[in-house]
Amino acid sequence: MEILAKAAAPSPLLEEGEITEIVGRLSSGRTSLLIRCLRDITARGGIGALIDTHDVFDAASAARGGVDLHRLLWVRCGGRRAVAMRAADLLVRCPGFALIAVDFGEIAPHLTLTGAYRWKLAARRHGVALVVLGARRLAGPGAALAVETVRRELEWTGPPAMPRRLARMAVGMRVLRCRGAALPAGEQVQWLSA
């Protein structure tokens, strides 16, 4: 997958000092994309933080996906969106983190344009990549990159009438907004194994 391949190295998806948004419906693969970003950061010795608004982070899945959990700060907000916003505000101002991931889940809070630019300036000052996950876009023009995920296909193993195992899922990614970086137009598809 071209976008993810770029994400592994110096990446437009995880650009320092910029906001990236990942949006999509439930079961579209957006969380898997977020976890992949965390893997890329922690595998290179960087420190990541995940602000988990609704306590949905599955550490076992993340560890299977290659995330070094020892380099991950997990902040559980218990469904309090205002607390998640405040936690993001604190972390984005702490120098030394390579990635701050904010998972707002299905019900996104209201983020003013001023607030988004405040995050952006703080992220730029401290060289942090800020990734926001939600059902819809929040940061507007404050985000340098916005990606939408769509589930395209599912593969099951075993007899078609009585499958035994969920094998993998094809996720399509479409760039909604891209400022300053050359990303391929059109949809890119990535298979994620279960």
Binding site: S27, V56, D58, P163
Partner: protein, 545 residues
């Protein structure tokens, strides 16, 4: 074979009890200060603020005050009254100690407070706080530890230091003495230093009046000959007898024939003669620092706001930080105990993400904790205990992404803890179990570079499909046909895969057994359903995303 020459230094703090209280309130340094025993009036005015803590009674630092060379007769009687206890609460407050400014005005220990005030009405009075004295004594010992690993508690305001072999490390005797004095000053205690071939001689040399007194090796007796006899803290009857003989200096006592002195004065006389000659009687007893270090601050007023409390906490933490810095240690946790006007005690254990001795950071973390757990009443005494630890040194590696600085990380973790609670922030750690959602949160301590994952591990890990868990799992109604779910969450099941059976702890009370199904619902959700084989109930574990 070269003969080892013993060299000892002695740190002596004049007016130690007063100095210990000035250390808690530096503004008192220039004012005439007396430290008095608690009287009944003090007890009635502040019943919730016990000055003499039960834990200190056994150790008896206050009791030693009575046995000091300058102690008054009344205090000696109190100190030797049999039971080991703090100063008795009497009807009349008596002066335990006075600083130099008060002594210039004629105030002496043992006077009643009224007598002292008659001589100097402008006196500032403080009731004895045992915690101040103990903390100051420990601070002095720790300051000496920064120079030599062998230090001895020589009594109130006196620390003996074995400086043998330090010449190549530090320098000559004068350099060692200067370093000791400097370290004592950093913990807030102005100390005099004496260096000699024995502890007794070093102690007398320190009390001669100069800031640093060096006694050349082998010249102890000659150098100390002019010292007044009062420096030896002899028992009253013996001191009176010697005074009657016209013996006023150590030189005169040392010149007396030893056998004759033994015949007339017994063992006490022989001991006094040995001391006058600069000989040590007791073996050196090395002092070991305690596992936790405490500082106390009693306030004369009641603190009912967090801002005011933060100021007091700041001074206490600065003293602790100075003690830690003296021996190059840090604190990895704080125990804060607040004595309240209600008589209760408000205790908080504040953990630090990283060992630190930065007082500003410790204050910030403590303040954030107290903001979320404020004391229920006004505060009269602040006691802070730290657990010393060695701060790990984590060198940066070229090419590695920068990690948060210890101070920044500790600060942000403290703020996050105040925001989401201690159970809401940390590092996820997988538990060695097949039980669903077996994960715990542990304090966040990023590993050093040596613990970085290898490239092979990174390559082996394939980015996969991730589950979004529901915590706790949501109990759902599932319709089953031929052993397979056909309808769940009021939606039609399009496809399902499974079951994947897991079980565990069947040998214990926490037994579990379940079948897991991956289910595609008609609205597009890709879920994981679990059928509990023990309770026969279905639950939604999470949604793949």
């Amino acid at each position: 074979m070269a003969e080892r020459v013993s060299r000892f230094a002695c740190l002596w703090v004049p007016c130690f009890v007063a100095a210990a209280h000035v250390r808690g309130e530096p503004a008192l340094a220039e004012r005439p200060l007396i430290v008095v025993t608690p009287s009944r009036a003090d007890t009635q005015s502040a019943p919730s603020a016990p000055r003499v803590s039960p834990t200190l009674r056994a150790s008896g630092p206050v009791r030693e005050i009575a046995e000091r060379p300058g102690g008054a007769g009344a205090l000696r009687a109190w100190g030797r009254s049999g039971a080991i206890s703090g100063p008795p609460i009497s009807a009349v407050a008596r002066v335990l100690d006075a600083n130099a400014a008060a002594r210039e005005r004629g105030v002496r220990p043992g006077m009643t407070e009224a007598e002292a005030r008659a001589r100097a009405p402008e006196l500032v009075r403080r009731v004895l706080v045992d915690g101040h004295v103990t903390a100051a004594l420990h601070a002095l010992l720790e300051a000496a530890l920064a120079v030599s690993p062998r230090v001895e508690d020589g009594g109130l305001g006196v620390v003996h230091v074995d400086i043998g072999g330090l010449a190549r490390l530090v320098g000559d005797d004068a350099a060692i003495a200067e370093r000791l004095a400097r370290h004592a000053r950093t913990v807030g205690l102005p100390a005099h230093v004496g260096v000699a071939g024995s502890r007794t001689a070093a102690r007398v040399a320190a009390q001669l009046g100069r800031r640093v007194t060096i006694v050349p090796a082998g010249q102890e007796r000659a150098t100390l000959a002019v010292a007044p006899l009062g420096l030896l803290a002899l028992p009253e009857p013996l001191a009176a007898t010697l005074a009657g003989w016209g013996i006023a200096t150590l030189g005169k006592l040392a010149a007396l024939p030893r056998e004759g002195l033994g015949l007339r004065l017994g063992a006490a006389g022989l001991r006094a003669h040995d001391v006058a000659c600069g000989r040590d009687h007791e073996p050196f007893q090395a002092w070991q620092p305690p596992a936790s270090w405490t500082e106390t601050q009693h306030v004369e007023w009641e603190i009912d706001s967090l801002d005011a409390l933060a100021i007091v906490l700041g001074t206490v933490l600065e003293r602790l930080a100075a003690r830690l810095a003296a021996v190059y240690l840090s604190a990895d946790g704080l125990d804060v105990e607040l004595a309240l006007t209600s008589g209760a005690r408000h205790q908080r254990a504040v953990s630090l993400a990283y060992p630190t001795r930065d007082p500003a950071l410790m204050l910030l973390v403590t303040r954030l904790d107290l903001e979320s757990h404020p004391p229920p009443a006004a505060v009269t005494t602040v006691v802070v205990t730290v657990h010393p630890a060695t701060a790990p040194v984590i060198p940066g590696v070229l090419g590695e992404p920068p990690a948060p600085a210890s101070r920044d990380l500790a600060t942000v973790l403290a703020r996050l803890t105040a925001l989401v609670g201690a159970n809401g922030v940390g590092m996820p750690v997988l538990v060695d179990s097949h039980r669903a959602d077996a994960v715990v949160l542990e304090p966040f301590r990023p590993p050093t570079t040596s613990a970085m994952p290898t490239s092979a591990v990174i390559e082996a890990a394939e980015g996969g499909l991730v589950l979004r868990r529901l915590r706790p799992p949501r109990v759902v109604h599932v319709e089953v046909l031929d052993g397979r779910p056909v309808r769940a969450l009021d939606r039609h099941v399009v496809t399902c895969a499974g079951p994947w059976r897991t079980s565990g702890e069947w040998w214990d009370t926490g037994a579990w057994a379940r079948d897991e199904w991956d289910v595609l619902l008609s609205d597009g959700w890709l879920c994981r359903l679990a059928h509990d084989l023990l309770t026969k109930s279905w639950s939604l574990d999470g949604v793949y995303d």
